[in-house]
């Protein structure tokens, strides 16, 4: 599995303007709905599932990156949205820092393989300082997706 296979290009938001966790996740879920990857009526339940998961501990994993996620019944295959923010989103990170890159993963209830593989790949990418710098410079979904595809090879 490659990250570029599951990331929805239309759901890469390179200029997230909102400051709160809930708003940021909502922005990304709306993009997934607009791209036809998520049914409109699933938006609220999925948002709720993501926030319930966050209540068990922030998914901010350091270096300004968060991996909010939920596994939801009725989702056929794992899909990812990406949000980038210059100003930062408050994500209750353990280190207290704002988050500048969000990788939102929505997957089927039953299958954990794609989810674990996606987490592994994201953590490998964000280890790489060049990747983090280049990602912050991308201005369109296409640019971000190309960068991810190239460095995830």
């Amino acid at each position: 599995m490659q990250l570029s296979d599951i990331i929805c290009e239309e759901a890469i938001c390179t200029a997230v303007q909102v400051k709160s966790k809930e708003e940021a996740v909502r922005v990304l879920l709306l993009r997934l709905v607009e791209a036809g990857k998520l049914a409109a009526e699933q938006l609220e339940p999925v948002l709720r599932a993501v926030l319930e998961r966050e209540a068990l501990g922030s998914t901010a994993i350091g270096r300004g990156v968060a991996v909010p996620h939920a596994r939801v019944r009725g989702i056929e295959r794992t899909v990812m949205a990406v949000g980038l923010s210059d100003t930062g989103v408050q994500f209750d990170a353990l280190d207290g820092e704002a988050v500048h890159a969000l990788f939102l993963i929505i997957g089927p209830d039953k299958d954990a393989d794609d989810y674990l593989a996606a987490l592994e790949k994201i953590s490998r990418l964000i280890h790489n300082r060049d990747f983090r710098r280049f990602l912050s410079l991308t201005r369109t979904g296409r640019e971000a997706l190309e960068l991810i595809a190239e460095m995830d090879a």
Partner: protein, 182 residues
């Protein structure tokens, strides 16, 4: 300085070594001075780093090899072994039976990993934190804000681990979510 300690553990929770288990593992590992390494198959990662642990891709059924090296290696391994064997305190696997007193048994089990004497205090009443019966008599709930009186050669580590436990509502997930929703 004691030598290296090692345990082979099996990841039993349904979704494997994902974010929540990894965060809990790293957070508790950070309370210790010892060097901690985790190996799954041929992949290795330092046990105090969330991001490094995420590269291990531990699945349900994977064997996880944990090595601790340093002055508090035994205590570190004891706490981490208990965490792994308790499914990382993840509580939403289907069919899982949840003991209503798990916060008390978790506290007692973790307190007993240390050499230090640990006394838990709630509303002016005190109990030996290693003793489940005494603890139960305090009327602790998962959201109780216990104070600890710790004395011994590993008191700093014991205090750090126990304070994390209390901060996270003893990792009782229904209580964690409820507290965050307030």
């Amino acid at each position: 300085m004691s030598g290296a300690q090692n345990a082979e553990l099996i990841i039993r929770n349904r979704l494997g070594f994902h974010v929540r288990p990894i965060q809990r593992f790293a957070e508790l590992a950070q309370a210790f001075r010892s060097e901690i390494e985790v190996r799954i198959e041929d992949r290795r990662a330092p046990g105090k780093s969330v991001m490094n642990l995420m590269t291990l891709r531990g699945r349900h059924g994977s064997v996880m090899n944990v090595t601790t090296r340093g002055e508090d290696a035994r205590q570190a391994l004891g706490v981490l072994e208990f965490l792994v064997e308790s499914n990382f305190f993840v509580e939403n696997d289907p069919g899982m039976e949840l003991d209503p007193c798990r916060h008390v048994t978790r506290l007692a089990k973790i307190a007993s990993c240390f050499n230090s004497e640990v006394v838990a205090e709630l509303n002016g009443k005190r109990a030996d934190a290693r003793n489940v019966e005494e603890l139960s008599a305090l009327g602790i709930t998962p959201t109780s804000k216990l104070a600890f009186h710790v004395s011994g050669d590993d008191s700093e580590q014991a205090r750090s681990v126990l304070e994390k436990l209390v901060k996270h509502c003893f990792y009782v997930e229904s209580a964690m979510g409820a507290q965050a929703a307030k």
